[in-house]
């Protein structure tokens, strides 16, 4: 900008390349700008009206058609999905009822088994108790007999130790009497 450009011959640019006044009002450039502007506008108009705008319009209508079709298809699929869901719910309800029934049956079966087992167990227990009682009674009577024997033997030994005559009959009688008394 600082170097003087002497070859530029113009009324709107000074020798330093700076603008004199407003470049917008410089008359000698206007014809050039108008000429190129008209060319530009003509090119853009031809390109738009011949190629671009019809093409975009076609794309938009095509898309509209596709969207309409897709929406119809989507509605169809939606109805199908609703039907499928209904069937699924029905199946679910059936399955629940079936499951409840099976649970009931199984419960009853188990209860019957349990009752039978309980009865058997009770009977066994009673039997065992009776047997035990008998054994206990036996043991007790045995024990009484042993005690008598030991008492007699002990009494005999005691009498002998004390230097008395061992009269077996008398001792036995005395021990018996004592045990009874």
């Amino acid at each position: 900008m600082a170097t003087p450009t002497t070859e530029t011959i113009s009324a709107c640019v000074d020798s330093y390349g700076s603008a004199i006044g407003m470049p917008q009002l410089c008359g000698e450039w206007m014809s050039n700008q108008i000429f190129w502007l008209l060319i530009t506008l003509m090119i853009i108009f031809v390109v738009l009206s011949r190629i671009a705008l019809p093409r975009i319009a076609t794309i938009l209508t095509e898309r509209q058609g596709t969207i309409t079709n897709d929406i119809a298809a989507a509605e169809d699929l939606k109805a199908k999905a609703a039907a499928a869901e209904e069937a699924y719910q029905q199946a679910l309800i059936d399955a629940r009822a079936e499951a409840a029934r099976i649970v009931e049956a199984t419960k009853a079966e188990i209860k019957a088994d349990l009752d039978a087992a309980m009865a058997t167990a009770d009977a066994e227990i009673t039997e065992k108790a009776k047997a035990s009682e008998a054994v206990i009674a036996d043991i007790r009577s045995n024990a009484m007999a042993s005690v008598e024997e030991v008492a007699k033997a002990t009494a005999k030994e005691l009498v002998a130790a004390l230097g008395g005559k061992t009269d077996e009959k008398a001792i036995n009688k005395a021990v018996d009497a004592h045990l009874k008394g």
Partner: protein
């Protein structure tokens, strides 16, 4: 000397012309502010009126641009 006075007058005039842009600013603010208060009252009608708002802004702003243009003419073209 005479040219200096003329140039001084041109510069003072350019500065004065710029005050007109303040008016344009007030005008544009008024348009948009009123649009906004109306739009907040009835938001459903606002969408259709944006174009009208821009036309109003354009008209209000054009006068500010004119004053700017006068300033530029005084600065560079007189």
């Amino acid at each position: 000397m005479e040219g200096d006075i003329v140039q001084m007058g041109a510069y003072v005039g350019a500065g004065l012309a710029c005050t007109g842009m303040g008016g344009a600013a007030v005008g544009v603010g008024h348009v948009v502010g009123n649009f906004l208060s109306g739009a907040l009252r009835n938001p459903s009608a606002a969408a259709g009126q944006t174009a009208t708002m821009f036309i109003g802004i354009a008209f209000a702003e054009a006068l500010g641009i004119f004053s700017f243009l006068v300033a530029l003419l005084l600065m560079f073209a007189v």
